[in-house]
């Protein structure tokens, strides 16, 4: 690659970063607005909208429910996805490429279609909509990300280390558990983080399967549609702060350059 970009490209980059960054800064500024209007610039400073987050029941319930869904589906997804990735990388078996393709399917199939199909299936099969249907949906949605990240991680490990362990008398299962799994530890951690994030912010497919409790994104969506005050700006500022910490930690511990 050339050592420098043309000035036009540099200007375009600056414009793009500004266009992406200004809205986030705007949210933070508006969240301290003392009046309920969303007019820029804020009339005065106040923390009342942060207090309002804690006073709004749907946000607290939504946060708890989204956290539960994210943790449960990510843990299940990592177990299921790592096993599948291991089989797909280490074995050549009949149906391998078909399964490889199918596991990636939730990534290509539109979310509306996934949500709509599962809605019809759960109603028609008599299972009905429950916490379980949402959990299964989230497992499905995080699966391709997990399989892709763990697969890449497995492909980078040296198989000879496993062979060496077995030559030294370790049973295959022990060799995998004691040698391979520790080697792909970072890949699994990255997959877990991605799965948590993807599940936590899933909106469209989730919207179709909501039964009793709302997830946080759905609660936020409902609030934006009905209310018109900066509470969402305050909540968003908190969420951006949390996300920034996650990104920073991921970078420090795993190195973003290798993960993305």
């Amino acid at each position: 690659m050339a050592d420098e970009s043309p000035w036009l490209f540099r200007a375009a980059t600056l414009l793009a970063i500004a266009a992406l960054g200004v809205p986030l800064l705007l949210i933070a500024v508006m969240s301290f607005n003392s009046t309920p209007s969303l007019v820029f610039p804020p009339a005065g400073l106040s923390l009342r909208w942060y207090a309002n987050i804690l006073a709004t029941d749907s946000f607290l319930k939504g946060l708890a429910y989204s956290a539960y869904l994210a943790v449960a589906s990510s843990l299940i997804g990592v177990a299921v996805g790592t096993a599948a990735a291991f089989a797909l990388v280490r074995y050549r078996f009949w149906g391998r490429s078909l399964i490889n393709m199918l596991v990636m399917a939730p990534l290509i199939i539109p979310e509306v279609v996934i949500g709509m199909s599962l809605l019809i299936w759960f109603s028609a099969s008599g299972w009905g909509l429950s916490d379980l249907s949402l959990l299964l949906l989230h497992c499905l949605i995080v699966l391709p990300y997990i399989v892709r990240i763990v697969t890449a991680s497995l492909q980078r490990t040296d198989r000879n280390l496993e062979h060496a362990a077995m030559l030294l008398g370790a049973r295959p299962v022990i060799a995998v558990l004691r040698i391979t799994l520790p080697l792909i530890r970072n890949g699994i951690a990255a997959a877990l983080i991605f799965a948590l994030v993807i599940s936590f912010q899933n909106f469209t497919a989730t919207l179709f399967l909501i039964s009793k409790t709302q997830t946080l994104p759905v609660a936020i969506f409902g609030y934006i549609r009905t209310e018109n005050d900066p509470t969402i700006a305050a909540l968003s500022t908190v969420l951006i702060g949390m996300t920034a910490i996650i990104v920073w930690l991921t970078d420090r511990i795993l190195g973003l350059e290798r993960v993305t």
């Binding site: 705007l26 508006m30 539109p110 809605l119 469209t204 179709f208 973003l256």
Partner: protein
């Protein structure tokens, strides 16, 4: 798993002891055991998809199966409009992401490591941020009293607030800003693999920087452009949230139509048919974009004909 399954196969069957037989079977069957849970999950999705198609075949009255819902979708100009609007918006959003994203990707790969790292961190922050919240941020930016209008008024460019939101333009801008990180990542990952010596060679042979960019970097980055475009196109065409919040009821895309029919009106067969058409359109667009880019690429000589 066995250390080397091929080795086991060479043992004649007569010489098989029971433990060895068990090991061969374990080696053959273990991949299936390992993928079983994942396949079961995907099986649920496939079962759900078939029930979607089945539902879409149900007539408006009675249990007879037929294409009535699809005929209804094709005949009604309003329904057809949802599809053409979605395709048009997705096309414009993809084009916008390409124009906005390519320079960023190129800049990332040519600048200092620390700057590149900062941009990656920023893009991952966007990618990890809740999408509903990011669309809300655009409401604050593009609303009638939003920052953009205030800035335009203050600068004296306009006299009264411009309607940026509640229009197709607003939705397209929202989708561009929402999805451009995908485009940047897709292109930059391909650009980072380009051999720098190719550019040195081009420079030695007298190519200016812009010629090298046009004749070498751009063609070699085509795979990233294609995959980025496919991702952005699909995400834009299927978007529910952006038109719902930024379109304010004035812009209806397929996803909004499907949701309204299914959840608000409980007209499941029509919603199922619309979703089925959306699924087929999505797959068709992937194939079309792949083929289209390749064809265009070959005509201007930027995609290798042998591919």
């Amino acid at each position: 798993m066995a250390a080397n399954p091929r080795e086991e196969k060479t043992v004649p069957w007569g010489a098989m002891t029971v433990p060895r037989l068990r090991r061969v079977f374990a080696a053959r069957l273990s991949p299936y055991f390992l993928v079983l849970p994942a396949v079961a999950l995907i099986g649920l999705l496939l079962a759900a998809l078939s029930s979607l198609f089945l539902e879409s075949l149900r007539g408006p009255d009675g249990p007879t199966l037929g294409l009535a819902q699809y005929r209804l979708l094709a005949a009604d100009p309003t329904y057809r409009g949802y599809f053409t609007t979605s395709l048009r918006i997705a096309f414009l959003a993809t084009l916008g992401c390409l124009i906005l994203g390519y320079p960023v990707a190129y800049y990332m790969e040519t600048t200092r490591r620390t700057v590149r790292h900062a941009i990656v961190m920023f893009l991952v922050l966007l990618f990890f941020s809740d999408y509903v919240m990011r669309v809300y941020a655009l409401i604050l930016l593009m609303g009638n009293n939003g920052l953009a209008n205030r800035a335009l008024l203050w600068l004296g460019i306009v006299r009264s607030p411009v309607r940026l939101m509640y229009s197709e333009t607003g939705v397209v801008v929202g989708l561009i800003l929402g999805n451009v990180p995908f485009m940047i990542f897709a292109i930059s990952s391909v650009l980072s693999r380009i051999d720098r010596r190719l550019l040195q060679a081009a420079a030695l042979l007298g190519a200016t920087r812009s010629t090298a960019l046009r004749r070498i970097v751009l063609p070699l980055s085509m795979p990233g452009v294609v995959s980025g475009s496919i991702i952005v196109f699909l995400l834009s065409m299927n978007s529910y949230l952006t038109p719902a919040l930024l379109g304010g009821g004035f812009v209806q895309m397929i996803a909004n139509f499907v949701y309204d029919q299914a959840i608000s009106l409980w007209n499941m067969p029509l919603a199922a048919a619309a979703a089925a058409v959306l699924l087929v359109t999505a797959f068709a667009m992937i194939a079309l974009l792949n083929a289209g880019f390749e064809r265009l690429g070959r005509r201007v000589g930027i995609v290798d004909g042998r591919r």
